[in-house]
């Protein structure tokens, strides 16, 4: 990306496409220009604007961790014009990428702490970046717990990675599906994420909680975390809003005086509590 034109995207080649769930895909992208790829760096939590030239841009977090060089990954669901066009792309196609934008999950501050990841449905991707980042630097953190649920078994994303993480000895993984979403051979728990969280009752002492999910899940999860003793400063989440420029100029992603693209997308609950409920 030229230092001159902040709207000009990097050219990225789609190296690998993974079908995660119905309508949900992960792209592994490499920089078409190797030099640009070598100089590219980002931190967990940041997002980018992914272009289909001729259609427009769409905003997704960078779902791969900064500890893995040479590529970035994004996961998206087919919803509108741009994501439908992305879904038609094939391995080898060129798309655009602008980033990294936004603020970060402060992993540096979490050395020696327990990490609790709570995610629902298509909201696992923003946390996957942090999970993999933490796993790549495993001995910096104490206990790592992942509680993830989706509506049905088919809707679970990163299925093979969830399995890998479960097989490691040093991560506790609880994958659940909503009541009615289980298949006959489903061996895991069945229940909504907030309920499963309450049952698992992870300790709040010296623990950072990261929560990402549909608004209803977040609404019901926060009281559970409060009951478990988590303080608002130790609960992290991400916000999404309609974006166009991604760099704080087009004026549309603000929640009150906060721009989600510049001051976010990562926010602590303490910060969210000071913001108007206009999102």
């Amino acid at each position: 990306m030229s230092a001159e034109n902040i709207y000009k995207p990097y050219l990225m080649r789609i190296e690998k496409i993974t079908e995660e769930a119905p309508g949900v895909r992960t792209f592994r992208l490499v920089f078409a220009d190797e030099e640009e790829g070598k100089n590219f760096a980002f931190q967990a939590g940041q997002f980018g604007l992914y272009s289909v030239f001729g259609e427009g841009e769409s905003t997704f977090c960078i779902a791969s961790p900064p500890t893995r060089k040479g590529y970035i990954e994004c996961t998206f669901r087919e919803m509108g014009r741009v994501t439908k066009a992305l879904a038609k792309c094939e391995e080898g196609d060129i798309i655009g990428f602008r980033g990294p934008y936004g603020n970060i999950f402060p992993l540096e501050d979490w050395k020696g702490k327990n990490l609790l990841f709570i995610a629902g449905g298509i909201a696992l991707p923003p946390l996957r970046c942090v999970i993999l980042n933490a796993l790549d630097l495993r001995d910096r953190f104490k206990e790592i717990t992942i509680i993830y649920g989706a509506r049905t078994v088919a809707d679970l994303v990163y299925k093979h990675e969830l399995e890998e993480w479960s097989k490691r000895g040093d991560v506790k993984v609880i994958t659940t599906v909503d009541p009615g979403g289980e298949t006959p051979d489903w061996k895991g728990p069945v229940g909504f994420v907030p309920a499963v969280l309450e049952k698992a009752a992870p300790k709040s002492e010296n623990t950072i909680a990261l929560v990402c999910g549909p608004p209803i899940m977040i609404k019901l999860t926060l009281p559970v975390l409060a009951r478990l003793g988590f303080t608002p400063e130790n609960i992290f989440s991400t916000l999404e809003n309609r974006m166009k420029c991604g760099v704080g100029k087009c004026g549309r992603c603000n929640v009150g005086k906060v721009f989600v693209c510049k001051d976010g997308p990562v926010f602590t609950l303490a910060q969210l509590n000071t913001m108007p409920q206009e999102y």
Binding site: G56, G80, R81, K84
Partner: protein, 267 residues
Amino acid sequence: MEELRKKARELLETGAVKVVIGYGKGSGQNARAVFVRKAEYADKLICDESCVQNLAVYLTKPEVKALGKPAIVAKLPVLRTILQLAAENQIAEGDLVVLGVSPDGKIIDLQNFKAIEDYVAQFPFELTPEQKAEIEKIGKMSLEERWQYWQEQFGRCLKCYACRAACPLCYCSRCLVECNQPQWVPAAPHAIGNLEWHIVRAMHLAGRCTNCGDCERACPVGIQLSLLNLKLAEEVLKNFKTRAGASSKAEYALGNWKEEDKENFIK
């Protein structure tokens, strides 16, 4: 005016309506739309030559509908629009109270749509001499001149959509131009984007527009929009013998096929 205020007070006091949509004093010499909900504020209502906005635009606006059953101060252009909105099933008899206002400022009792139709029939729509002259002037232009004329007009367009916002008949909850799969009409304010927008809008209004002129009044850059709609209204009249705003049961000329429709455009 006092009669109007009295009637408004009555309607609000008896609870017959929840809001009176009318005109009040605005900035400078202008009037502005007011929404009187308490009988003691009925004195805010005015009705004179400064009151030109087509208030019918508020009959389909969600924020105003949420206030409850309205009474609406309706001069002739507004009455025509009310009939057309009724013809398009956007309002039903009994949904609103119509406070008709005659050209010389008297309140007219219009109990139902039939009464409005009968009243409006006394004032058949006619182009003003200025409008006739403008349309003739453009009609006499060669195709090239006409193209240049409209290119200049549309060249000013900023895509602010004030024309659409002010139009009581542009009530689509999702305007065509807001569709991006595909992007039928380019959103950007360049030559083709502007031309397509205005043509599409004029065509969508052909046979429906009651020629109140609010689109042109709303336009911040003075595009002569009403000429397009006036011309198309004349074309619809010529070809389908119907004009919008005359009946609450009118059929949409471009949406109905009749055996006697001429197909002389197929060559």
